[in-house]
């Protein structure tokens, strides 16, 4: 499943489906269980229909009535003064675990058997 057609085409996996949604929604809209189910059924069906290695099947869903989200997706932002200075809007990379909730840090098992850290 992919929402970044150009990147998937470059990686060239054996088979893929492409959903034209903003990054972070590869499997559908939040809490729309019916849509998520349809998207997954279409994805599974592509496993049966794709015969040529490298095929990317576009899925026929639309994120919203207009495509304005595409204008701002991963574009350097203007600063608050309206100038052209851009900034990196990604979060800093940390070397410590980044918990969604502080409570998760306390709940985390330091010897967690399902957390695998491969060597290399």
């Amino acid at each position: 499943m992919s929402s970044a057609r150009s990147i998937t085409a470059s990686v060239n996996p054996p088979r893929a489906v492409y959903l034209d949604y903003p990054l972070g929604h590869t499997a559908g809209h939040p809490n729309d269980l019916a849509e998520q189910r349809h998207i997954m059924i279409d994805t599974l069906r592509a496993l049966e229909t794709i015969q040529v290695p490298g095929t990317i099947v576009p899925l026929r869903y639309r994120w919203s009535d207009d495509d304005s989200w595409k204008e701002t997706a991963m574009r350097p932002r203007k600063n608050s003064m309206g100038g052209s200075e851009s900034r990196d809007d990604r979060i800093t990379r940390h070397a410590e675990p980044q918990y969604q909730l502080d409570d998760d840090r306390l709940a985390a098992d330091p010897g967690c058997p399902t957390c695998i850290f491969p060597e290399g």
């Binding site: 590869t26 491969p118 290399g120």
Partner: protein
């Protein structure tokens, strides 16, 4: 900008990343670019008899597990496919997490797959899904360290197909 289907052209994230890196004064990002024909294994059985696995790169972990850090983190988590939604968490440095935190199924469709298995649309789901934090700069580490481990897990789980969900 309009195609035959009536929808506009896909966002070219490679071009946008290039512009973003230029604007920040970073050296150009080097995308993985595979030109050879990819290996292709046909589906070995009908979907309603197939065992389906899941691998997601959106930084999903379950409460009780160690969260991902963001500095070329090549670790992965093994998460029970039927983990209740309120125990799932999402952390990642490079995409808007708001909707994924509201409903993790948008980047971790385990609930969708188990629903299809329960309805008989697919044979079964694997007991576990695998997750990692996709922002790993070293494609060599992904290829030589992480990917072989995930492949080994999937073989051990005896899945027929794996759904892969990048972000």
């Amino acid at each position: 900008m309009t195609t035959e289907s009536g929808s506009s052209e896909p966002v070219d994230y490679i071009e946008r990343t290039r512009s973003q890196y230029d604007a920040l004064g970073y050296p150009p990002y080097t995308w993985v670019h595979n030109t050879e024909s990819p290996p292709f294994t046909p589906l070995s059985k009908p979907l309603d008899r197939a065992r389906v696995g899941l691998i997601c790169s959106g930084g999903i972990y379950a409460r009780g597990q160690i969260a991902f850090h963001f500095k070329d983190d090549t670790s992965y988590r093994k998460i029970a496919m039927r983990t209740p939604r309120h125990e799932l968490r999402v952390t990642h440095f490079a995409y808007d997490l708001e909707d994924a935190r509201r409903d993790p199924a948008v980047v971790f469709p385990a609930r969708t797959l188990t629903g299809l298995a329960d309805a008989g649309a697919i044979g079964s789901v694997a007991d576990y899904a695998y997750t990692f934090m996709g922002g790993i700069y070293s494609s060599r580490k992904v290829r030589e360290v992480l990917a072989p481990r995930l492949v080994a897990e999937c073989i051990r789980d005896e899945v027929d197909v794996v759904i892969m969900v990048p972000v």
